[in-house]
Amino acid sequence: MEILVCIKRVPDTSENEIALNSAGNDIERDDLVYSVNEWDNYAVEEAIQIVDRVGGSVTVVTVGDDESEEVLRREMAMGANKGLLLADDAFAETDGRGIATILKAAVAKGTYDLILTGALADDGAGQVGGMLAAMLDYPFASVVNKIETVNDKTLKIGREIEGGNQEISEISLPCVLSIQTGINEPRYVGIRGIRKVASVEIPTLAAGDLGLDAAALAPKVKRLDYFVPALGKGAEMLEGSTEEIIAKLLEMLKAKGGLK
């Protein structure tokens, strides 16, 4: 099975608070370190495991700039066979639809039976996979947490739906699936693994190579700014009799959706 996994290089924000830059138009990126989007990493691991089972190859692709190459190499160190970098200044200002358009153009240059993306990335939008599927007229499933190959035309998949339940379906190939964390246990990529693939050639395609122009990438949605909603300092201490406290607390819990 030929599998394409779309990945993204994102700031690693798990341990550090995000601060806004002085202009307020972006987060403060100076002190951030970047890595591959966590969901995408699960998607690559899944692709590798599928190929281990049924054969084929895994290609990782990303839309970004030269710096994005590091995440491609990291996933290749993990076991992806090929990398593909889609980089062009024209890609910088686009939206999710634009990213999907770029990826669609890249998909057209190859033959893939299965396309995987992460369920979401740093912006939390979770949109590119579904958009790409629609552009390709492929069936789509989001938040996939299980993939079994039934035959070379069909997959049996599980989606993680509300309440921790799993929705099982059959989906025809080719298709696009967005992968939820926890579908597998991604393998560790050590320094040694990354060095091994350090000199592997990664082809780069620009807008022209993909036959894209500015009109095709014109965004419908633009981010205007970043801001941090005002936060109080320290807890508001509830005082009074237990009954009074509970009455106040219930009111707050209701307002915040803490009671179902």
């Binding site: 341990e15 999907a100 633009k222 801001f227 237990t242 009671l259």
Partner: protein
């Protein structure tokens, strides 16, 4: 003015809580809008839902067909492409169905897509200004969507207060317009989560207990409260170490990273290892008998009390209020 639609998800003949939240969101786009609800499904359950939704929406479009028996976005999407008028704005809740449906729908409709919307600031010409969050909720952002060719929006559950059910619109059975749909994804079954295999990372409300629970037998007190609140019990490390709860319930750097909306920290002092597992800026209520517990520094609301007395009282109050 674009026509606004809300796709309503439902289960067991009952419309989802988000049904009325979507109406609020729609009114934020255009307070004067006449909003049409769309429900798909089959049989009496669908009729029941259509009836409920009709009490709030100006009109309800009902599509009944076997293919809609289970909410499969791969079937609903081509339907909506077929029946929605050009330039329509469609709202669908940002749940696992909405995530399945919306992105592809926006492409097929050539409409703007904004997912996980937490605020709507209003429409200015054909530009709709909305609020979203990024980086796991650490920062918010205003986005401008060009809705001149329509839009697909997925509001986050709980971000919009539910509208009063004031209108009373007709239910229009449009099943005939569905026609033949090519569906390349076939639903098989839902596998229920195993008991004791709760995924606290996906829960919106957590009743989290720490050493203040004192004894294994007292876990029940927390479970009762969680049940009353519709929440799930999580805990800090000492509880897992004591083997009073399974590891999957542990919040913290050595446990799970959770992103609830509401976090009730009961008898948890609030070590940074524990708080490290708490993301997404939840509303934190801290209950601790030690007024100097560090958890009060980070909590939104603090209560100095013995949890073994406070929790049962709270449970009782909630039960009474139901």
């Amino acid at each position: 003015m674009a026509q606004i639609f809300a796709y309503i998800v439902h289960k067991n003949g009952v419309a989802d809580d988000t049904a009325l939240e979507l109406l609020t969101a729609a009114k934020k786009i255009d307070p004067a809008a006449s909003v049409t609800a769309i429900v798909t499904g089959e049989g009496s359950a669908l009729d029941a839902v259509a009836g409920q939704v009709a009490k709030a929406y100006n009109e309800v479009w009902k599509f009944s067909a076997p293919v809609f028996a289970y909410p499969n976005a791969e079937a609903v999407r081509p339907l909506l492409v077929k029946v929605l008028p050009a330039g329509a704005i469609l709202l669908v809740a940002h749940d696992t169905f909405g995530m399945d449906l919306a992105p592809g729908l926006s492409i097929k409709l050539n409409a703007a897509l904004v997912t996980d919307v937490v605020g709507i600031e209003g429409l200015d010409g054909s530009t709709l200004k909305l609020v979203r969050q990024e980086f796991g909720g650490q920062v918010s952002t205003h986005v401008a969507a060009d809705v001149s060719t329509g839009a697909v929006l997925t509001p986050r559950a709980g971000s919009f207060t539910a509208a009063e059910a004031a209108a009373s619109g007709p239910v229009v059975d449009k099943s005939a317009e569905a026609g033949d749909l090519v569906v390349k994804r076939r639903f098989i079954e839902v596998v229920a989560a195993e008991v004791g295999d709760v995924d606290i990372t996906k829960e919106d409300v957590l009743v989290s207990i720490g050493r203040g629970i004192e004894e294994q037998d007292n876990i029940e007190i927390a479970q009762d409260l969680a049940k009353a609140m519709g929440a799930v019990v999580s805990c800090s490390r000492p509880i897992v170490d004591a083997k009073w709860l399974e590891k999957s319930r542990q919040v913290g750097t050595s446990g799970q990273t959770v992103k609830p909306k509401v976090y009730l920290a009961c008898g948890i002092s609030g070590s940074f290892q524990h708080l490290g597992g708490l993301k997404g800026n939840p509303f934190i209520v801290a209950i601790n008998k030690n007024a100097k517990a560090p958890i009060f520094q980070v909590a939104d609301v603090g209560i100095v009390a013995n949890i073994l007395e406070f929790m049962p009282a709270l449970t009782e109050a909630i039960e009474e209020g139901k």
